[in-house]
Symmetry: C2
Subunit: 186 residues, 2 copies
DNA sequence: TACAAGATGTACCTATCGGTACAAATCGTC
DNA sequence: GACGATTTGTACCGATAGGTACATCTTGTA
């Protein structure tokens, strides 16, 4: 009884790129087929639920990645200020310094929000929570930490919007750097 | 030779709502027809260029509105600090306190960015410029004013993403209020 | 080498897409 | 009321959408 999970998960990065680039509605099965190199037969074998299951798999993968690489390190960093510094590094790398869009942010603004509302809401809530926790451990009061965390996550999402709008990744780096300074000053 | 422009412009608010809600690709002609109360005949009579011309008309309308209600007042306010305060009020009202999404931000993240790249880029560039000008007049140095303006426009866009993701408009108000305080402190 | 299970390509389905053609209704002007 | 121009509804177009059915190929195991 061979486990075939490996194959399915191999398709997810390509799926993520297609959804990121074209959105949920814009990602047609022919685009998906071209990007993954998989025909409809394979696609529907791996994802019997169709496009919706494909997108859900991508969201789950992103959620897992951020939990592993961002949220948990933030919460468990020995030195919270250093943990925050590393969050900015990891996030900058993840978004290719602003060249890459946040799929979950795009879904939040777009047509597909309702379909994946729970995922989308949970992702941002967790990010804010984890960052607030680190800030609190770094010395901020509970309320101040939450406020700073909310502002920072919003700044990052807004920076992605601006970077993509201007087709200029420099703006992303500038906003990220200033936000990091703001959080870690004092 | 009767001027029929009046009719065409009457359809634009409804068009804007459809594109805002469903995105460019998601806004099908049947949705557009239902929202505007216009059949295909009328739609293609007013907008011979089809969906693309409809979306362009909406973008132009938004651009004009912001120029008139936000950018110009920012640049020409007698008292720049008061002008900035009013910008936050007007923007809060425009986005229905976070219940309404920024169409141009959604286009920037979505599939339709390339199609309307010039509009999208110009909108944000103008916003940052106008706000930076006001901040400079309020006493900031040139570089600092630009940085603050960039951060603020990004914060607003990010706040819209978070508000829509969490389906919670309170977060929009919180971020806006803190950003206003940050700009006008000292 | 035989066999079952999984993987894949292809043909096909219905619904809808954006867009066009055009005749009929409507409207402003004289 | 007549006329020309605009406005509108309807039928229709080819293309493509997402999805299903199924026969055929691979593949791992014994």
């Amino acid at each position: 009884m061979p486990r075939t999970i490996g194959e399915r998960s191999d398709a997810i990065p390509a799926l993520a790129e297609v959804f990121r680039t074209h959105g949920f509605d814009g990602a047609s099965l022919s685009l998906i087929g071209a990007a993954t190199g998989l025909g409809k037969g394979s696609l529907y074998n791996f994802f019997p639920g169709g496009k919706e299951e494909m997108a859900q798999a991508v969201l789950d993968e992103i959620d897992g990645w951020f939990r592993r690489e961002v949220f948990t390190p933030l919460r468990e960093a020995k030195e919270p200020r250093q943990g925050i510094r590393e969050m900015f590094q990891v996030v900058d790398r993840y978004f290719h310094s602003g060249r890459r869009v946040c799929l979950i942010g795009a879904f939040a603004l777009g047509d597909s929000r309702d379909r994946f509302a729970a995922c989308v809401a949970a992702y941002f809530a967790e990010w804010v929570d984890a960052l607030a926790e680190a800030l609190r451990r770094a010395g901020s009061g509970r309320a101040e930490a939450r406020a700073q965390a909310e502002d920072t996550v919003a700044a990052i999402q807004g920076a992605l919007v601006l970077a993509r709008a201007a087709d200029d990744r420099a703006v992303f780096g500038r906003i990220m750097r200033r936000q990091e300074l703001l959080l870690l000053r004092k």
